[in-house]
């Protein structure tokens, strides 16, 4: 077990190193002259030359990479050209909003997806199963931005069920920052009406972000429940007269949830990529919307930081998922040569 985890961590470090080279290549080599991009077309030749020297652009590529990588390891991601602040400051400001949204969406999809998947699988070929399958097909086929627009139109404009944009309505003061999660902060400080407002604001974006994952997780849970129901040990338990409820909770759920847990890394990828679209539609002031703004403004340092942060987060999530799965399923540990 220990060996497996160490190997997996080493592999991740290697991948992150590779990712830094890829991002360096995209950011420094593709756009031509980064100094010119950074200063805009109005800058004089001397100014561009000065910045080129400051950014070590006059040196060979691998030396440039060395300086760039060193500053990243120190946590220095440069200045954003658009907000004119250090990128790390920007990230700290915008990150909590996205985390709040993603966490909400994650638990939403986890709970709804599992329950629907287990029910659909257990009552296979019933009307519920058929309905679930049709809905999950549509859920998977609908891009996040389309889902966001559909739910915005239906639940916000037509049914007036939840507010349309932002984390809080205009004029409502945001709670004193402790964690950066509005709902949590206002609960801690005892401002329950603000917590309620923040909750209503997060509902629609989180739901539109969750739909694809609900469909995906539900489908996988459903099919593994169906598959496991046909196994001999379940039949044996039924023949022994073990109550249905304990068959489901004790013997059926654990093996059936392994495939669902193992795709959670992909779920995370789906969440973080789709957050780019959902945050734009709902004007959610988060990390992803910051990323989109950076991209539309060709803000090099900010783009690099956003991609890098996502790469690191995604790799860490994947490692955690792999370790959890190997705890759940001893066969995987053995297969991959851990002890």
């Amino acid at each position: 077990m220990g060996k497996y985890i160490v190997l997996r961590l080493l592999q991740t470090l290697f991948v992150l190193f590779g990712l830094s080279i890829l991002i360096f290549f995209i950011a420094r080599v593709v756009p031509g002259d980064p100094a010119r991009v950074a200063l805009g077309s109005l800058a004089t030749k001397e100014q561009v030359q000065e910045l080129r020297e400051e950014m070590h652009l006059d040196k060979p590529l691998f030396v440039q990479y060395y300086f760039w990588f060193r500053s990243i390891l120190r946590g220095d991601l440069g200045k954003s050209l658009y907000t004119r602040r250090p990128v790390t400051t920007d990230l700290k400001e915008f990150m909590p909003a996205t985390l709040e949204l993603m966490l909400f969406s994650f638990f939403m999809s986890l709970i709804i997806g599992q329950v629907m998947g287990v029910l659909a699988g257990y009552f296979g070929n019933s009307w519920f199963d058929n309905l679930f399958r049709v809905l999950s097909y549509i859920g998977i086929a609908t891009p996040a931005f389309a889902m966001a627009i559909f739910s915005l139109l239906i639940f916000s404009y037509v049914l007036n069920f939840a507010p349309a944009v932002g984390r809080l309505s205009l004029g409502v003061r945001s709670p004193h920052q402790i964690t950066g999660f509005f709902i949590l902060d206002s609960l801690i400080t005892g401002q329950f009406s603000i917590a309620w407002k923040a909750l209503r604001h997060v509902l629609l974006p989180a739901a539109s972000l969750a739909v694809a994952n609900i469909a995906q997780e539900g489908r996988i849970t459903r099919s593994s429940i169906v598959e496991n129901l046909q196994k001999d040990y379940i039949t044996a338990h039924i023949v022994y007269g073990i109550p249905t409820r304990s068959i489901i909770f004790k013997y059926l759920l654990k093996p059936s949830l392994i495939p669902t847990v193992s795709i959670m890394g992909l779920d995370f990828a789906c969440l973080i990529a789709n957050a780019f679209l959902v945050e734009v539609v709902f004007m959610w002031p988060g990390f992803s919307r910051y990323g989109v703004t950076a991209m539309l403004n060709k803000d090099l340092n900010a783009i690099v930081a956003v991609v890098l942060v996502i790469g690191v987060a995604y790799s860490v999530v994947n490692v955690i998922v792999d370790i959890v799965v190997s705890f759940l399923d001893p066969r995987i540990r053995l297969q991959k040569g851990g002890g």
């Binding site: 592999q11 290697f14 991948v15 992150l16 590779g18 990712l19 080279i21 890829l22 991002i23 995209i26 950011a27 593709v30 756009p31 097909y137 549509i138 998977i140 086929a141 609908t142 891009p143 996040a144 931005f145 389309a146 627009i149 559909f150 915005l152 139109l153 404009y157 037509v158 990828a269 789906c270 973080i272 990529a273 789709n274 780019f276 679209l277 734009v280 539609v281 990323g291 989109v292 991209m295 539309l296 060709k298 783009i303 956003v306 991609v307 996502i310 790469g311 995604y314 790799s315």
Partner: protein, 296 residues
Amino acid sequence: MSKKEVLIAALSRGRYSFSKGWYKFSRNPLSVLGLIIIFLVILAAVLAPYITPYPEQAGPFTNFREASLPPSLTHLSGTDSMGRDIFTRVIFGYRFSLMLAVVVLGLSIPPGVILGLIAGYYQRTWIEIAIMRVTDVFLSVPPLVLALAITVMLSPNLFNQMIAISFMWWTWYCRLVYTMTTSLCQEDFVHEAELTGAGKAHILLREILPNCIAPILTKMTLDMGLVIIVGASLSFIGLGVQPPKPGLGTMVADGAKRLPAEWWTAIFPALAIVIIILAFNLAGDGLRDMFAVEEV
């Protein structure tokens, strides 16, 4: 079924007979529906200038007297703020989406498959390590995010969007074919070919590749939908098909600014995207059942 059982089943079946496969595929009405929708959409996109009611409104065109009309008999899906017929533009928009998917898969599948074959065949050598670790690096960022970053650097338009998505899409095929090849290499027919002195190219392309075709085809069909999603998402953010060209994602983004009053400008292009992706997913699932592949 385990991977090995699937393999044995596939091998004992011998050459796949088309009529048998079609029979199995056609048992699933949803897959057939998907196939019909794909066929109709392709037909409509190809014949767009002849079948749409106002083909001249696909590009730059303004008619403010008919701007922002709700759906009616003359304009089935209404008109946008420039007075252009949305239905016409959606059909033309399909052209960009389909072209994007075909070009991306055409550019990314061949290198992905070949690298996967090589990496899988030369197991436990530096070749495998080099290829598969590069693949890992590309897969360490969600495809949409990497595509966004690359498109921005190349300056956003349809062509660069194609380049950006292809630049990382090959990795999925590389990993798929790699997994298949590593297990196929243990099979007797590969050992026999090696013993009789067959060349490496023969073994990879004539012995191993034919056994990978089924999952590749299945993944290809499902990926048509995925690439269209990524492309539409890029266009939605403003990094894809540029106005006045009628990209589906571009049209949704344009319409989203006019919610809720002019809902039709966003909803119909969005529905059009959902329909084509749904069709490819249905057909892809049918293929998956037909070939009994699990890997994809």
